[in-house]
């Protein structure tokens, strides 16, 4: 008997709300099947199953907001008796948020008696129920959200482990939100921008706290890629055209496959390089916010497939649903300004990854070819990488590999 639990869908997630079941008791599920839909701070995500088996029962109710690690459903392995009682081992799901990751040190390490209780830990339920008048345990996001809105945490009933106040509890207690000044580009319907902002803040604060970033910048001649792209797209109907962003993703994926210190995850045990390059593609959401779903095996895909998958990811980030594996499998992230924007972007690494590559807007600049200065389309590429794993020498090799790949676009 195995428990299917609320997965962590990224460094910034502590809880999710179950909004749809795709399975029912008796169904046979296999790895990769979409079994449920969970609403997170970054929108609704389709949750994929990690294991195989038969659905014994659904444990979580629709509408319930549950911490990462909470049991959603019970699965019976093949051949297992339906009625057999097996002690479910408290197997930690992969990528479960580590306790220390939750602990934004807003409070002193040695709290005074009157100080707020330590933040909730999904893996260590706090068993002491808060007494009236005490400040209850609370999650970092809940504290920040409450502080911003002047809500007393002690006045709230927490739904988290041990009565911990979670973000959803604070949101539920928030008076009808004043409409955020609406611009023509508003948020995706149903997306809570304040929650999204908090999620980004938490992940980025953790990144800057834990990851000793270093930055390398290189200006790359983009004229060969620009010319090739223009000529290629001129022969194609709109549905088959490519964007420069697809070339950036493929070139970076090829470079990441060569320089292993840029591609993988860093956890309590240290760095785990990953052979395949699952490229996180940063997508700016309309109205604000950012999401970087993974494009799996980007280094092996033909450029047309990379482009098709990017189209699909953007479309689903805008109007549909991303999948849990896309939220968690990224091994490196690529963020591009697009046609118009700033010259360069030094981005913040998305934990537990160890590198992010920022492409500025391609611009025509004076460039030296041989002994003459000529106008060429160029792009400034900035690598932000993790000093726990690599240093500038490897970083420079990585950027050189991106540059080399972009000089022969027809080979991408």
């Amino acid at each position: 008997m195995g428990a299917f639990t609320m997965p962590s869908l990224g460094a910034d997630m502590e809880a999710g709300t179950l909004i749809e079941w795709m399975i029912k008791p008796g169904d046979i599920v296999k790895r990769g099947d979409v079994v449920a839909v969970v609403e997170t701070q970054k929108g609704a995500i389709e949750i994929e199953c990690f294991e195989e088996g038969t659905v014994e029962r659904l444990d979580a109710e629709l509408g319930a907001t549950l911490p990462v690690g909470a049991t959603l459903a019970t699965l019976r392995a093949q051949g297992e008796e339906a009625t057999a009682f097996v002690e479910t081992p408290a197997a930690p799901t992969p990528r479960t948020t580590r306790p220390e990751e939750n602990a934004i040190p807003l409070t002193p390490a040695q709290p005074l008696e009157a100080a707020p209780a330590p933040p909730s830990r999904a893996s260590e339920p706090i068993s002491v129920a808060p007494r009236p008048g005490d400040t209850p345990p609370s999650s970092p996001a809940a504290r920040i959200f409450a502080a911003e809105r002047g809500i007393e945490l002690s006045a709230l009933r927490g739904s988290g482990p041990g009565g911990a106040v979670l973000l959803a509890d604070v949101e539920a207690a928030t008076p009808a939100p004043s409409q955020v000044a609406s611009t023509k580009a508003a948020a995706k319907p149903g997306l809570d921008m304040a929650a999204m902002r908090i999620a980004i803040a938490n992940a980025m604060a953790r990144s800057k706290r834990e990851i000793p970033h270093y930055y390398l910048t290189q200006t790359i001649d983009l004229q060969p890629a620009t010319d090739w792209l223009t000529a290629t797209n001129a022969k194609r109907t709109p549905g088959a055209r490519l964007l420069m962003g697809a070339l950036f993703v493929k070139a970076t994926a090829l470079a990441a496959a060569m320089i292993s210190e840029m591609n993988g995850n860093y956890d309590a045990e240290g760095f785990h390089p990953v052979n395949a390059v699952h490229a996180g593609v940063a997508i700016a959401l309309r109205g604000g916010g950012l999401i970087a779903p993974a494009l799996h095996d980007a280094e092996t895909l033909p450029l047309d497939d990379v482009m098709a998958k990017m189209r699909d990811l953007v479309a689903r980030a805008r109007t549909g649903r991303l999948r849990s594996s896309e939220m968690t499998d990224g091994t490196i992230t690529i963020s591009a300004m697009g046609d118009a924007g700033a010259d360069a972007m030094a981005a913040v690494i998305y934990p537990p990854q160890v590198a992010i590559v920022g492409f500025g807007a391609p611009v025509r600049r004076p460039w030296i070819v041989g002994n003459t200065i000529t106008p060429r389309t160029t792009v400034i590429v900035t690598l932000s990488a993790d000093h726990r794993v690599s240093d500038g020498r490897r970083g420079a090799k990585f950027l050189a590999a991106i540059e080399a790949a972009l000089q022969t676009p027809e080979a991408l």
Binding site: K184, A185, K188, N233, A234, P238, R311, R318, G338, A340
Partner: protein, 81 residues
Amino acid sequence: MTDADIRKAFLGELTQIAPDIDADSVGPDDHLQDDLEIDSMDFLNLVTALHQRLGVDIPESDYPKIATLALAVEYLKARIG
């Protein structure tokens, strides 16, 4: 096709790609990228949708000619003939 038909088709596809945009609030001279925050992927999807809906294959070199609603209606009218 009348101007109104083309306008409707253009706004229909635009709001399909960016559902948060209210078709009635799009001004004739609003710039798709600067004012409506349409990015390069959205723009390509719009061009793709217009190709499918109106049969007009807009080459990349003509992208500036559909940068606003007013420009796009003129351009598409001429291309549809």
